[in-house]
């Protein structure tokens, strides 16, 4: 176990290093110089001034030297500074990261809340109208791009019926919960949740749909096994057979892919945050691309890669712990 974890962590570190290297390399070959972008609004700048700024920013150094400097910085918690905001990237990202995490986790919650009952019911009532409806739901969920769903939700629930706000975030969830716990009223929490509903549904629906299919088919597999037939044959009430034997085993395949889906949701935030003007790092990344703010792009990519790799790492370690037969060689 120890050796496995060690190797796995080492491998993750290598992946992160590769991401860093490739991104910093690619950023160098982008046409359009960051200094030109930075100084676009200053017609008084001479070429000499720009040259001086390039020197100061270290843009004149060889790629490997720049990379080395960058790595040393990263290890010391310095992710460079944004060209646009003129502030450290780490600060920019850490103020926006909670919003992204909140959105991702809440979407996962919604995906699970929708998928588990629907997956189970469609399996238990196989070939019924409910089953058919569930399959149609799954098909539609998988086929609807998250940003399109987001727009439709805005159109219906914000524009037409005005039940949920169309965009933005209220108090961050942890702040709102803090307020609720310390007796400052539930208003803030309610407002936060209301803002969270539409983006989370838009983001989580595809995952929910995929999970409905998966839970349904694994439930069907389990129902047909000998031990379920035996449990029924020995006279256990259907409820007990379901709760003690079928349900838990049927969820295993889904639980094992939840980690991967978390990564998928994290990727989806880039689009959804833009649709809903959600102040997370996904939107920041998209804006940074428009601004040609390369240090910021690099920092966001690095942070996302670290999160993604960490999720994968945890998933692998948990698998290994649940089922020691799984080996990664």
């Amino acid at each position: 176990m120890g050796g496995f974890v060690f190797r796995r962590v080492l491998y993750s570190l290598i992946v992160v290093l590769c991401v860093l290297f490739i991104v910093s390399l690619l950023v160098r070959i982008i046409p359009g110089d960051p200094v030109d972008v930075m100084m676009a609004g200053n017609p008084g700048m001479t070429e000499q001034d720009k040259e001086q700024i390039r020197q100061q920013l270290g843009l004149k150094d060889p790629v490997l030297v720049q990379f080395e400097k960058y790595i040393v910085g990263v290890v010391h918690g310095d992710l460079g500074s944004s060209l646009r905001f003129r502030t450290p990237n780490l600060g920019l990202i850490s103020t926006r990261l909670p919003a992204t995490l909140e959105l991702t986790l809440f979407s996962m919650l919604i995906a699970v809340i929708i998928a588990v009952p629907l997956g189970i019911i469609t399996a238990l009532k196989q070939d019924s109208a409910v089953d058919y409806g569930g399959s149609v739901f799954a098909l539609i969920g998988i086929s609807t791009p998250n940003f399109l769903l987001g727009i439709i939700l805005i159109l219906v629930f914000a524009v037409e019926f005005k039940v949920f706000p169309a965009s933005g975030q209220a108090d961050p969830l942890y702040v709102a919960i803090g307020k609720a716990v310390t007796g400052q009223g539930l208003g803030s929490l309610g407002d936060s949740l209301r803002h969270l509903v539409l983006p989370s549904v838009a983001l989580g629906m595809a995952v929910a749909a995929a999970n409905v299919r998966m839970i349904r088919s694994s439930m069907l597999d389990v129902i047909r096994t000998d031990y379920i037939r035996f449990a029924k044959a020995k006279g256990l009430p259907g409820r007990v057979v379901f709760a003690k034997h079928a349900f838990r085993n049927a969820l295993i395949p889904t639980v094992t892919v939840l980690g991967l889906q978390l990564g998928q949701l994290l990727g989806g935030t880039f689009v959804i945050e833009t649709v809903f003007a959600w102040p997370g790092i996904g939107r920041l990344a998209v804006q940074a691309i428009f601004w040609r703010d390369y240090p910021l792009i690099q920092a966001v990519v690095l942070v996302t890669a670290i999160m993604f790799v960490t999720i994968n790492l945890l998933v692998d370690i948990i698998y290994h712990w649940i089922d020691p037969r799984i080996r990664y060689d």
């Binding site: 993750s12 992946v15 609807t144 940003f147 989806g268 880039f270």
Partner: protein
């Protein structure tokens, strides 16, 4: 040795000339009969065929030029909401015909999807087959690159590529191809590992058939069903991601009428001109439904192992 190879390949092509086409024809007839028997598969195939037809005949069937603007038609509502026959599905903020733009959008979406899938499947399959069959350092290098890519969200990868290459049609093709080739490489490699120890491959090797020929003649054909299934289902992913990137402003650039671009244009007019959103949205949604229905059917038919997922 050389002569043996020649006779062998001659025999091979002779037998191919006689036996294979007949078998293929009956096989494809079987599948077609099965497709017709499946409501799901047939619906998907019909939707997709319709979209392809629309894309091909776009210049003929589109009532207007996709980017010609008209001050008089600005915000013209669709026919059912009190509009005129001139703009059946209404017009956008610049007076461009929504129907025509949606029709031309089909060209963009489908062409990108087919090109990306074609390149990604070809590159991925060949690299995967080489990795699996040749093994050793080649395998390690190719699969490490694939692993590296798979340990990364696709969309982020595509985003980074778009940032670097700059927005545009071919940058989009490159970015999306780079984002998914590894899937196919993995799939074919797995197949290659299984097949390379089988007797017929060993026999082919023993009589001196070249590596390239074994990969081309034995390994790739065996991986084909799984490739077709995965490739078809990925068409939906490519279409959605193209639309998403274009929607963000990082893909196809206005005024080119990609569905994503149209949806982005429509965002500011959700309140007043919802039709600007609705029609490209429906086109995008229906295409994905068609692809997924067909893909599901293919999976159930070709690859029962995957059917559960």
């Amino acid at each position: 040795m050389d002569s043996l190879q020649v006779t062998n390949s001659a025999g091979d092509s002779a037998s191919a000339g006689v036996a294979r086409p007949k078998k293929r024809a009956s096989l494809s007839r079987d599948y077609f009969a099965e497709l017709r028997g499946s409501k799901k598969g047939m619906t998907g195939a019909l939707i997709l065929a319709f979209m392809v037809l629309v894309a091909i005949t776009a210049p003929v069937i589109a009532p207007h030029d996709a980017s010609s603007q008209s001050v008089y038609a600005q915000y013209a509502p669709p026919l059912f909401a009190g509009g005129t026959m001139d703009h059946i599905l209404g017009a956008d903020n610049l007076g461009r015909d929504i129907l025509s733009r949606t029709i031309y959008g089909t060209q963009i979406s489908l062409s990108i999807a087919f090109i990306v899938i074609f390149i990604a499947v070809s590159v991925g399959a060949v690299l995967g087959a080489i990795a699996g069959y040749v093994g050793g350092i080649v395998d390690t290098v190719i699969m490490r690159i694939a692993d590296f890519q798979l340990s990364f969200p696709f969309i982020l990868l595509a985003l980074v590529f778009m940032a670097i290459l700059g927005p545009g049609y071919w940058s989009l093709v490159i970015a999306l191809t780079v984002a998914i080739w590894a899937n196919y490489a993995r799939l074919v490699r797995g197949e290659a590992l299984k097949i390379r120890e089988l007797e017929f491959v060993q026999a082919a090797k023993a009589i001196g058939v070249s590596r390239a020929r074994i990969i081309w003649g034995h390994i790739l054909p065996n991986a084909l069903p799984a490739l077709i299934v995965l490739g078809t289902l990925d068409i939906a992913w490519v279409i959605i991601t193209e639309a998403a990137l274009s929607f963000l402003g990082l893909g196809i650039q206005p005024p080119t009428p990609s569905w994503g671009v149209m949806l982005n244009d429509a965002r500011g007019y959700l309140y007043e001109s919802a039709w600007m959103t609705i029609f490209p949205g429906i086109a995008l949604f229906m295409t994905c439904i068609g692809v997924n229905l067909l893909g599901d059917w293919l999976r159930d038919t070709f690859d029962p192992k995957m059917a559960k997922l």
